[in-house]
Symmetry: C2
Subunit: 164 residues, 2 copies
DNA sequence: CGCAAATAATTTGTACACATACTATAATTT
DNA sequence: AAATTATAGTATGTGTACAAATTATTTGCG
């Protein structure tokens, strides 16, 4: 029974560590690129889409549209991004990278989940399965099997708008 | 190999889910108690200590002292907490709960890590060991074996002051 | 067609979260 | 005892993060 207590305490410690690591990494990125975590994440998504409207961007980075307004404001102020009113539906704006934004996105580091994926790929199948089972157990404990997964970024996590 | 890809994607999804769950829970608490996650956490710690100074409180909840000033400000404004200048060392203030604060802390819910611990306690030893190994693998991937663990609370995670 | 409902973005207000800089007090050095 | 250094708390400014209210535009329905 004593061993159980040890294991439980270890697990909790490690969950905490992972939280911190993710947080630290986003701070690291901040130092290296001059962009904050959410800002980098945003331009990565914009880059993948060539052009995207604000709601869709908010949806993709799992943030509130109101929050994204501010993020885009700052990116625009730094001339990394451009806003244009959509011609077809004039309620929408379309957001694109400037040349400066494009060159920045090229040599900006991977976000947390890229790192995780790369690390996992090096593990043998049986270990992967074990980790898979374990994570499922944790998710089950937290009782949220039905909540759809969102992206990781330490302190920038938040609830997305309702639904797909 | 296809199975590996599936497992990797599952794992990442579940890490994301856990992040969200922790975040959602702190929002849940907010609705039920009128206190935000950090505020609740703070008064729990204050309650455990009867009286605590600001730096120590900041250390215990793993936040910057500057952040904690604001949190204590708001708690004080709601008359849940009282600040008094220490007589022995007049640089320090001591923070205590008011009667209102004490009654509130009594019937406020557990924080995230309490939930996790309770859930883990119900698992059989072999499963605990598996989860333990798995978390260690993840921590290793993120390459932070040496970082000391801090507490969990979704969006309120941050780096503590530089150690003791 | 005309106007109400729906949608897209923004504005405003609250609360973290941190870095930097500042004030007051205490401890240490000289 | 005076000067230096360290410590405790605060003030200020930037950047998330979200809810509620606002504005402009489109769409849908009678």
């Amino acid at each position: 029974m004593d061993q159980n207590i040890q294991a439980i305490s270890d697990i909790i410690d490690n969950v905490r560590r992972i939280f911190q690591i993710l947080h630290e990494q986003s701070k690291q990125v901040e130092k290296n690129t001059g962009l904050t975590g959410p800002q980098l994440w945003a331009i990565k998504i914009i880059n993948e889409n060539k052009s995207i409207n604000l709601s869709e961007l908010a949806h993709r980075i799992y943030l509130h549209p109101t929050t994204v307004v501010g993020i885009v404001d700052r990116l625009e102020k730094h001339d990394l991004v451009r806003r244009t009113r959509s011609r077809s539906d004039r309620r929408m704006i379309s957001i694109e990278l400037t040349e400066k934004g494009e060159s920045l996105v090229k040599d900006s580091p991977e976000v947390a989940q890229g790192l995780l994926a790369a690390g996992l790929e090096e593990l043998p199948p049986n270990q992967l399965e074990e980790i898979d089972r374990s994570m499922k157990s944790l998710v089950k404990i937290f009782g949220a099997q039905k909540i759809p997964p969102k992206l990781i970024l330490s302190s920038e996590i938040s609830l997305p708008r309702e639904k797909i």
